[in-house]
């Protein structure tokens, strides 16, 4: 029986054009621009200076707190400058710009492709090394992984859940990674299980990836404690709370983290990065990025160094189509529209999606006809139509009461509304303000 989460959900057109496309290694660009804020939490502190020579995998910016992450050079060459550069957020961010020279890696990195099953590090060492390797959630949330692996005192974790759902339409990088690096992901899973001291792990995969379900199920027979759970195709199943609900039927309470119900969630791409960090001594400086879109000539999945300009990726997929009206970093439901194709790929870039003109603008907003469709699709059981009205009228107290902070910004409400109402835009505004009010109250 296919499982899924209990509340709401939608099923947008899948459009997985790049499914089954082998991961291609993208040529190294002539220059990379590596932002120092690629993760949730404090920006890192640069530890190189203009003119310094760097190798691939060398640390170039240090984590500046517990919730922060190291950043490693994705290329070898010379630091050209450290300056503010436009990135995917739409703002100019401090970035380390490196002119590429050759491809010389740190000697400590094991570049062989052989599978290394034996886990020698202790739980504590794994957590520490995951942090050192600069690993963050690669599904798009970019939350530093070592933080999630450090179970807070008083809480217990009894299960690890891996996100192989890839519920965003168009994207296929995790899918392809499971097909090509399945064993590595399973060893990575065991590493995470060891770090969390749990003996059970579930990998959730949606049923539109039957080949991956079959492949992983077969491989997993050799790995104790790991099961594959096929899931009904339903967005936003990749949301942590939804995935936990779908796989094990536990509901994370409002305002709480998954650990509250004894679960930790990691994405399969992140798990692969953990494998490479622990078994191959390789920090995180490259990742698989899907490049896709309805008019893209050769949609595909590319192993890309962080800092590579997005336009290089688009070039590799056949060039930017004439009718492109929007370039999205990430998927169509939660991704960010990019201001330019010059911005760099970061650790959180799961895909580059090109939207043709006619799909780039929104329909005309009409008045709410009270059809209640936004209510029935909300996976958090909220009342989007009401939250929007409250936000428009700046009634923050009631917004908080109506649990606006529970919103996971999945966009299902805006997607569904027949009146094209910008529900999530207003809800975000409200979350910002209500969040501030709540924080100032706690001070």
């Amino acid at each position: 029986m296919l499982k899924t989460f209990s509340l709401g959900g939608i099923h947008p057109e899948e459009n997985k054009f790049s499914a089954g496309k082998k991961i291609e290694v993208l040529p190294i660009p002539t220059q990379v621009s590596v932002p120092i804020a690629q993760h949730i939490g404090a920006p890192s502190t640069p530890v190189v200076e203009r003119g310094d020579s760097v190798k691939v995998g060398q640390i170039i910016a240090k984590s500046s707190g517990f919730v922060s992450a190291n950043i490693h050079s994705p290329v070898s060459g010379k630091v050209f400058k450290i300056d503010k550069v436009l990135d995917a957020s739409g703002y100019k961010q401090m970035s380390i710009i490196i002119k590429v020279d050759g491809d010389e890696w740190e000697e400590s990195i094991d570049r062989s492709t052989s599978l290394n099953r034996e886990i020698t590090l202790s739980a504590e060492e794994i957590v520490k090394k995951t942090g050192e390797a600069g690993i963050v959630g690669l599904g798009g949330a970019t939350f530093p992984s070592h933080v999630k692996l450090s179970v807070p005192p008083g809480k217990t974790c009894d299960i690890l859940i891996l996100n192989g759902v890839e519920c965003e339409p168009y994207l296929t990088s995790d899918h392809q990674l499971m097909m090509e690096k399945g064993e590595e992901i399973l060893v990575g899973t065991q590493i995470l299980m060891k770090a969390l001291k749990v003996d059970k792990a579930i990998i959730g995969i949606e049923n539109n990836k039957k080949d991956a379900i079959e492949h992983m199920t077969k491989l997993a027979e050799q790995y104790k404690g790991i099961t594959i759970q096929a899931l009904k195709v339903q967005y936003p199943q990749g949301g942590e709370k939804q995935l936990i609900d779908a796989c094990i039927g536990r509901e994370v309470p409002s305002g709480k983290l998954p650990i509250e119900v004894g679960a930790v969630v990691q994405n399969v791409g992140t798990t692969f990065a953990v494998y490479e960090a622990i078994q191959k001594n390789k920090p995180l400086f490259e990742r698989v990025v899907t490049v896709t879109g309805k008019s893209v000539k050769n949609p595909g999945n590319f192993m890309t160094r962080v800092g590579t300009p997005v336009k290089d990726l688009i070039e590799a997929a056949g060039g930017i189509p004439e009718n492109t009206g929007k370039v999205i970093g990430g998927g169509p439901m939660m991704g960010k529209a990019l201001a330019s194709a010059d911005v760099p790929v970061t650790k959180g870039s799961s895909g580059i999606l090109l939207m043709p003109d006619e799909l780039s603008t929104r329909g005309k907003t009409e008045s709410c006809i009270r059809c209640s469709k936004c209510v029935s699709v909300c996976p958090m059981g909220l009342l989007p139509y009401l939250l929007m009205t409250l936000s428009q009228k700046a009634i923050w107290e009631r917004s908080e009461e109506e649990r606006v902070m529970d919103c996971i910004e999945c966009g299902s409400c805006s997607y569904t509304c027949p009146s094209n109402r910008p529900l999530l835009d207003y809800i975000r505004l409200s979350k910002g303000t209500v969040g501030q009010i709540m924080r100032s109250r706690n001070k």
């Binding site: 947008p12 709410c368 009146s419 835009d425």
Partner: protein
């Protein structure tokens, strides 16, 4: 590549629109319209065309000259109001009364509150109840089925099944005898009985329901709770005294129960926003309908019941919340 659009996520839309939903409802009403034309002939045609034309025209005029806002007549909602208004009138109603009904429905019921989405009461029912109170004689003279194919104002009339039973019981006739005077259940199913022009066709209305459910225009909650409640309530009454109270089948097939439950109570604007709320709303309508029919002054109660429950919708929406994620106890 020209300039890139920057907008917040989501970047895709379902493609659903107000029009699609409204036209969907209109399509769902077509089978019932067909039966109405078959059963009541020319009169039904005149009533329907007049009601739709007048509703659309009034919406156009009010938006253009009074409110001075862009016209919304193409969204289909005025057509639905007109169609439902016609369905709730006898097929021999004079044109001028129909026009007054449309003016009240659109002008008072809808536009005075700010147009589509803002009206608390179902506009067609506002029009209908206004007419029922203002023109009680014309609004309760019911053309006989299958006998007035070419007649309009001169149609031969008779009582509706609900009217026959109500009157008969008041005069002391036994229910079993009255049941012989009303059309058979088979005739009721296909629409061969007296009544408002669009309420008689049980099967056609159910086809419309199925269509709207499949197209996800509405959910099952309201129709099922209204009809289920009526059936249970009528069942209990009839079980307690079979000679005084008609049974569930009779109540469900007569007096616009299906038309109301499927098409009037489910009006987006005037019904609750949560599934739980919809069920409360539906149960309320079911109970009130039977109470009015059995114990009230009018033989039928659906319109009043829906309007009464419409008034409770803001209260229901304020206090009935959906199940929130994370409320389940582990």
């Amino acid at each position: 590549m020209s300039t890139l659009t920057i907008s917040p996520s989501p970047h895709v839309h379902s493609g659903d629109s107000v029009k699609k939903n409204m036209y969907g409802v209109i399509i769902a009403l077509i089978p019932a319209l067909a039966v109405s034309l078959w059963v009541f002939g020319l009169g039904a045609l005149i009533v329907t065309v007049t009601a739709i034309a007048a509703s659309v025209l009034f919406e156009y005029l009010i938006e253009k000259y009074l409110l001075k806002v862009p016209s919304t007549i193409t969204d289909g909602s005025a057509v639905i109001t007109g169609l439902l208004l016609a369905f709730n009138m006898p097929s021999n109603l004079p044109v001028w009364i129909i026009i007054i009904g449309a003016l009240v429905a659109i002008g008072v019921g809808k536009m005075s509150f700010g147009g589509l989405g803002n009206n608390p009461f179902n506009p067609a029912l506002v029009g209908r109840v206004f007419l029922l109170i203002s023109f009680p004689v014309q609004m309760t003279s019911w053309p006989l089925p299958m006998q007035n194919t070419t007649a309009y104002l001169d149609a031969t009339t008779g009582a509706t099944p609900l009217g026959i039973v109500k009157e008969g019981l008041a005069n002391g006739t036994s229910l079993s005898e009255l049941m012989n005077q009303v059309p058979s259940f088979v005739d009721m199913l296909v629409g061969k009985m007296g009544g408002s022009s669009g309420e008689v066709a049980a099967i056609a209305l159910l086809i419309g329901l199925a269509y709207m459910l499949i197209r996800k225009i509405i959910t099952w909650h309201i129709p099922v709770s209204v009809l289920g409640t009526m059936a249970i309530f009528a069942g209990i009454l009839s079980y307690s005294n079979p000679e005084a109270f008609a049974g569930p089948a009779f109540h469900l097939l007569t007096g616009g129960a299906l038309l109301g439950a499927i098409f009037m109570a489910t009006d987006y604007v005037t019904s609750p926003m949560t599934n739980k709320g919809m069920i409360i709303f539906g149960v309320g309508i079911g109970v009130i309908t039977i109470l009015i029919r059995v114990f009230g002054a009018y033989p039928e109660g659906m319109s009043f019941a829906i309007l009464i429950m419409n008034a409770f919708v803001p209260l229901i929406d304020r206090y009935v919340k959906p199940k929130r994620f994370g409320e389940k106890v582990k």
